[in-house]
């Protein structure tokens, strides 16, 4: 094994880029988060106000509400995507005619831009004129209005997210399932284990790393979701779909509340990192050590 110097040289470009475009902006955001700063306030300058913003955030019901709906959204969306993705991945493990074509079709939503996905779903869901509410009403007499019903809006966003991102989950799970060694399964069958036991005691532990990595990517992307929701509901009705991404957007863009908006971002980033870190150490790290 050669010197670590080569390792650092290979890592250097990555670290340099992430430093200039990730770390420096982050330091700036942290700096601003300790200030009161709105360029259209009576005093447009940055005023240092210590930890006031952080104190305020604890009692900010709008922010807490947005964290709440975001957590709900992430839970619903990511769990559904895992379940649906797993079922589909298992279905792909079998041979059937046209499998390659079906798999290609299934990956198509992945290549669509979130802003386009949001636009299409908005048009499909426009109350009374969109094709989905129209036929739901025509065939089943169900009225769906995402402008009025929080449940309808929230559900639509979850369905949209499932439609858009399940393919990524399916693909990673296929990769994981394909690489499973056959021996443990044969052994378990010989030992007389039933399907459920095999699933929980062999399949799940073996694909866990893939699942965690997928959940990771989906989790952090779901937390940042802005484009699709922005197009579809704008965060409404009321605050039903005002996810943190949208909340921060409204705080920073139209409201130009740079100081407090930075505080919210720092907190959200911190919460995300903690959640991911916990997931990482509990699920992946022990396994890595073992090997």
């Amino acid at each position: 094994m050669q010197s670590n110097r080569l390792g650092w040289i290979l890592l250097a470009p990555t670290l340099v880029i992430l430093f200039f475009f990730g770390v420096l902006p982050f330091i700036y955001v942290v700096y601003v988060s300790f200030h009161q700063w709105n360029p259209f306030a009576a005093d447009p300058t940055m005023i240092f106000n210590g930890a006031d913003n952080f104190r305020k955030i604890v009692f900010d019901t709008e922010f807490l509400n947005s964290v709440g709906v975001t957590v709900l959204f992430v839970l619903f969306a990511v769990i559904s995507e895992l379940v649906v993705g797993y079922i589909l991945a298992q279905a792909f493990m079998k041979e059937f005619p046209g499998k390659a074509i079906f798999r290609t079709i299934h990956t198509l939503p992945l290549i669509m831009a979130p802003i386009i996905v949001g636009s299409v779903w908005k048009l499909m869901m426009t109350p009374s004129i969109g094709i989905i509410p129209h036929y739901l009403n025509e065939w089943f007499g169900i009225t769906v209005n995402i402008g009025m019903s929080p449940v309808a809006a929230f559900t639509t966003i979850i369905v949209m997210d499932i439609w858009h991102w399940t393919p990524l989950v399916t693909l990673t799970l296929i990769a994981a399932l394909v690489s499973l060694p056959p021996d443990p399964f044969k052994q378990a069958q010989i030992d007389g284990a039933n399907k459920r036991q095999i699933f929980f005691h062999i399949t799940v532990p073996m694909i866990a790393p893939a699942v965690v990595a997928t959940v990771f990517i989906r989790l952090m992307d779901a937390l940042r979701t802005v484009d699709e929701v922005w197009m579809l509901t704008g965060g409404g009705p009321g605050s039903a779909t005002r996810f943190v991404g949208v909340h921060i957007f409204k705080e920073v863009f139209p409201k130009t509340n740079y100081g407090y908006g930075s505080t919210i971002s720092v907190i959200v980033l911190y919460l995300t990192i903690v959640a991911c870190w916990l997931l990482y150490v509990t699920m992946l790290a022990p396994r890595n050590k073992k090997e």
Binding site: M1, N4, L6, G7, L11, P13, T14, I17, L18, F20, F21, G22, F26, Y28, V29, V32, A91, K94, F96, F102, R103, T104, I105, T107, L108, I111, M112, A113, I115, I116, L123, M124, I129, I131, H134, W163, L171, A175, A176, V178, S179, P181, P209, A210, A213, T214, F216, I217, R224, D227, I248, E251, V252, G261, S265, L269, C276, Y280, A285, E291
Partner: protein, 278 residues
Amino acid sequence: MKKNNPIIAIVFWSLVSFLTLFPIYWLFVISVKPAVQLFSTPDVMLSDPYWGNYAKVWGDRLLRSYMVNSLVISTGNALLCTILGFFACYALSRFKMAGKESLFFWTITNRMAPPAVFLLPLFLLMTQVYAVGDFRLLDTRIGMILVYCTFNLPFAIWTLRPTLDGIPKELDEAAYVDGASSWKVITEIVFPLCRPGLAVTLILTWVFAWNEYLLAATLTNFNARTLTTGLSEYVTTTGTEWGIMATISVFTLIPALIVFGLVQKHIVAGLTFGAVKG
């Protein structure tokens, strides 16, 4: 597990495919409808398509330049992230550097940042700090390629790490014993073995870059505007031009589809993040 009835599988997959394809089909339907028909009772089947939007989009020189920008930026960014990610993962996988696992985790935190608030510092840096003379990084293709690294480079590192970990170290060591240089080992022995993983990293980072909206909308003005930001030009005060937007969207799908089709067979082989080490 091959004893299943193919009919059931085909019916099942046809149903899934229908659900998958419908929104894409609908996008197409919108793109071939005259504006005046959009707000009337929807019709599932397509009758008498109207190609005016396509002519308009194709004939628009601005949109064509956006298309070129999008292609250059996403291709440049995907290549950069995949190559740098490969080097980084080789380092993380092969060397016993202090704190490398923390570093590995830290890279991914760059993808977690809520983008809205980071636009201001990025704007300031790219106009005032990363500037030489009259040149500034804002509104340049190279600037966007670098900015997109903040979310794509971590992704590349996370996708490639298991691939690199999966290649036995004994291979490199054998080559070193034979007197090969480090460069030769990395490029001629390890790199080819990682091909499936590299392909999938390339395609997914490409797609993420191709589809990015918010950063491009703020950090480009005239020279480096991308196709997704072009969409927002049609959300006007006097009516969103859904037909044109849908047409542009269809245009954005085509290159993505081609790129995706090219590496389709590598995707499953390469997407092994966290999969059991072979």
